[in-house]
Point group: C2
Chain length 228, copies 2
DNA sequence: TTTCGTTATATGGTATGCCAGAAACCACCA
DNA sequence: TGGTGGTTTCTGGCATACCATATAACGAAA
């Protein structure tokens, strides 16, 4: 007998103003080109509360969370400032990223299924052609997704969480990072090697390749990106 | 000519109630044995605001930060609950720790001075004797400081920051972790090997040793610590 | 006695108002 | 004209009052 079951779907949980304000602020800050000279880094509580249409209380709680996350700095009776990361801090973030993603690669060789690993090809092989420079935008996206995929394959939620947090900060820099032709091409070669190491379940090698790959980025940023 | 200079010292910066409440709550939560069965995990805003002698506003901002940090969960109109980490989450934290500290060890071989590395002996050689079991408390402290020292030697502030955050969560577990005699003894052997790798500036080896050392802890917790 | 509906209460969510301190502004004096 | 000191204003910190909802308590009906 077939029961006519009620289609139950979770009640649309309208999030609190605090959390919605938090998200909105995060997006807004992410969209700002805070590294452009003369960018306005000051936030005004009252102005924001008007813009968002909420009172200062939930707004301030959202700001407290963003402060904890390191996105803004609250100076008592001075103002609220978007934090501009120094180059040294960016380099540290990339270093931490290297540590975490390489560990993720090692874990992936232990826990990911063959099918899951095989799916990585889709994020790399597309750009096999020599016409990379024409698809830099797409490549940049695929590049990010490739690294996120490895982290996902590790099954370690915490690594995903932390690297996500780092990404929030590094995103601003990305706008100013120039991928010259050779870097993109060599990056693809690296990615293929990484996939191969994962497929052969060579944890040691996968870890090393990912680490070295990311440290190349570190070196590149250190050498060519000007911030301060 | 010697000037009679005014001895200027920075004015005692009285922190905001928010940040002081944040610190106090963090300490209070850390001191709680939240993993004991029947432990009270619910926090009451109004009661806390009375206990701390502050209004709910700064208290709530502090709680918002703790929520961001993952120490508490705020359920709308239900209550505020101290987050009990699952065993799986603890294991992930140790994994992340392994990734970060091993990277720190690698960095330390590149940037730390000989003198700084030599100072590590002080945290290990003391326990050379076979009477470790009589000084478990001290050893536990020295053990923690040893790992913190390696991280400090890397010069990477971000690694220190993240591992500190992890430590806040793992501290609660530590109370329930039994260090049996052999683990302590073998731990000291590991530490000596690590120091030697650092002294010989063998980054590859230092990284591997630290990683394996921490993954041993992971394995131990996975096998012997019961939480859920 | 049990169950269901109603009411009361407890608890977090939000708005608002006032306060204190910092910075900007301005007037006055040298 | 330049600098100093007072005053105003702007801004975040904090307290409090009220609101909405989840849960508990209670009572009536079956």
């Amino acid at each position: 007998m077939i029961k006519a079951q009620l289609e139950i779907q979770p009640i649309e949980e309208v999030q609190s103003l605090k959390s919605r304000t938090y998200e909105a602020l995060k997006v807004a800050i992410g969209a700002m080109k805070i590294y452009d000279a003369g960018a306005e880094l000051r936030l005004d509580e009252r102005a924001l509360s008007l813009q968002f249409g909420v009172s200062r209380t939930p707004l301030r709680e959202a700001l407290a969370q963003l402060e904890q996350e390191g996105l803004v700095r609250i100076a008592p009776r001075r103002g609220i400032f978007i934090v501009r990361k120094t180059k040294a801090e960016i380099l540290e973030m990339i270093t931490v990223w290297a540590a975490l993603e390489s560990m993720a690669a090692r874990l992936a060789t232990e826990v990911a299924s063959d099918a899951e690993i095989a799916r990585l090809h889709g994020l790399v092989d597309t750009f096999d052609s020599d016409a990379i420079e024409e698809h830099m935008g797409e490549y940049s996206d695929a590049n990010i997704r490739f690294h996120a995929a490895i982290i996902a394959l590790s099954g370690c939620k915490l690594i995903a969480e932390i690297t996500n947090g780092l990404f929030t900060h590094v995103r601003g820099i990305r706008q100013r990072t120039i991928f010259e032709r050779d870097r993109a091409r060599r990056s693809i070669v690296d990615h293929k090697e990484i996939i191969e190491a994962l497929e052969t379940r060579n944890g040691e090698r996968a870890e090393r390749l990912v680490r070295e790959h990311t440290l190349k980025l570190r070196q590149h940023v250190e050498q060519f990106v000007q911030l301060d």
